[in-house]
């Protein structure tokens, strides 16, 4: 099971990032809470603790894969499947 964290205080970009990531996972045929879990990290100190300065950020299984922008579906799929 893949653990995905979306880092962001809650601005529109973070919401969009969460939607994009969920959509990409569902398009792969993954089921939430079975194949992947999606968590939102909204506390600034917890975002900083992951070494990220620019939100939105995406963390997969503890590894930061994207910061400061909304990712696109093809790249999300490579992160999910790698």
């Amino acid at each position: 099971m893949k653990k995905i964290e979306i880092l962001g205080i809650g601005c529109s970009k973070c919401v969009k990032t969460e939607e994009e990531v969920r959509k990409a996972a569902v398009n792969l045929g993954w089921k939430e809470n079975e194949d992947f879990i999606l968590e939102k990290v909204t506390k600034p100190d917890q975002i900083a603790a992951r070494g990220v300065l620019m939100t939105p950020g995406v963390v997969m299984d503890g590894k930061v894969v994207c910061t400061g922008r909304i990712p696109r579906e093809p790249e999300i799929i490579t992160w999910l499947t790698s």
């Binding site: 962001g8 973070c14 070494g51 990220v52 300065l53 939100t55 910061t67 400061g68 922008r69």
Partner: protein, 322 residues
């Protein structure tokens, strides 16, 4: 040759041939001005923001942090000011950014230099200054913005205000060391394209509205009309301009075209520059967000130091630029 010559021809064609307006009529002048400036600014925005985004894809905030953490205090202020120019942050990133800088051991003063320069010298403001005022004023804006950022950082740093920062800021420890994601050229181009689109989508309406009102002022208000209210000899001009600028944050796109028209009608250049710096550099929403990590007193010191810097710059240019 002026690269915008074809745009000028197009604007004239729209005004005199397509709309059939009479040469020299006030309406014709306003329409010509509006069509020319709108197209020119939109082209400049696209080209410059795309270019800056490519540069930025090499300098994610995490890399900026690593660079600043490696350099000594004095060079750090200058570097923070310079890096702030190419690294904008949206106000929702202000806190993670602040915490991350402190956590990496970057001095508070250097962090503030970055927090001043990044929003004040932003690419949208620069494009508009370049397009509407020319490169001299654009350079003057960058130069004085940098000086204000560097000096504000040095002053705040010397004030030893660490006790006014929330305690948890110094306790945050990054569990993961992360130095930015390496991007491929394909990703950089996509990032630049997306970012340019995003900015254009956000500002085009303000740009058009600002230039529209500006065109009307250009055509209908007599030259020097405003000199009696906001000329260089009016001592309160810069002060009032700075105060008005504070709540106008994020509308630089609409404010600058308007201000360019006002300058033409007699508002002093220093007053104009102070106003634009206040619009971009003193942001209420950013202050509200930073309240989560620092005491109100520190925010007041921050705003005060930057505000005084802006006002001083305004008066100086009113004296120097005649």
């Amino acid at each position: 040759m002026n690269p915008f010559y074809p745009v000028k021809l197009f604007a004239e064609w729209v005004t005199y041939t397509l709309l059939g307006l009479q040469d020299g009529a006030l309406l014709a002048v306003a329409v010509d001005f509006f069509v020319f400036d709108t197209i020119k600014i939109l082209i400049l925005l696209t080209v410059i923001i795309f270019t800056v985004s490519i540069i930025r894809s090499f300098l994610p905030a995490e890399k900026v942090r690593d660079i600043l953490a490696r350099h000594n205090r004095y060079f750090g202020f200058i570097l923070a000011g310079l890096l702030g120019i190419v690294t904008p942050f949206c106000s929702c990133s202000a806190i993670p950014l602040f915490l991350g800088f402190i956590e990496a051991g970057i001095p508070l003063g250097v962090t503030f230099s970055f927090l001043v320069s990044s929003p004040m010298i932003n690419e949208v403001a620069l494009v508009l200054l370049l397009g509407l005022f020319g490169w001299k004023i654009a350079l003057l804006y960058i130069g004085s913005g940098l000086v204000i950022a560097i000096l504000s950082g040095i002053i705040i740093g010397a004030m030893r205000v660490e006790n006014l920062v929330a305690d948890f800021a110094f306790q945050t420890k990054a569990k993961v060391s992360f130095h930015g994601v390496e991007m491929q050229w394909k990703d950089r181009l996509e990032f630049a394209r997306d970012y340019t689109q995003e900015i254009l989508k956000k500002v085009w309406i303000y740009v058009i509205a600002g230039i529209g009102v500006g065109a009307w002022i250009h055509g209908y208000i007599p030259t020097d009309f405003l000199a009696q209210y906001a000329g260089a000899d009016k001592w309160y001009g810069v002060l009032v301009a700075t105060l008005i600028g504070i709540p106008l944050y994020s509308n630089a796109a609409g404010v600058i075209p308007l201000v360019s028209a006002l300058t033409e009608k007699g508002v002093a250049m220093g007053t104009t520059l102070a106003f634009m710096m206040a619009v971009t550099g003193l942001s209420l929403p950013e202050f509200m967000i930073l309240k989560n990590v620092m005491k109100t007193r520190l925010i007041l010191i921050f705003a005060g130091v930057v505000g005084i810097g802006i006002i001083f710059t305004g008066y100086m240019f009113n004296l120097v630029l005649k």
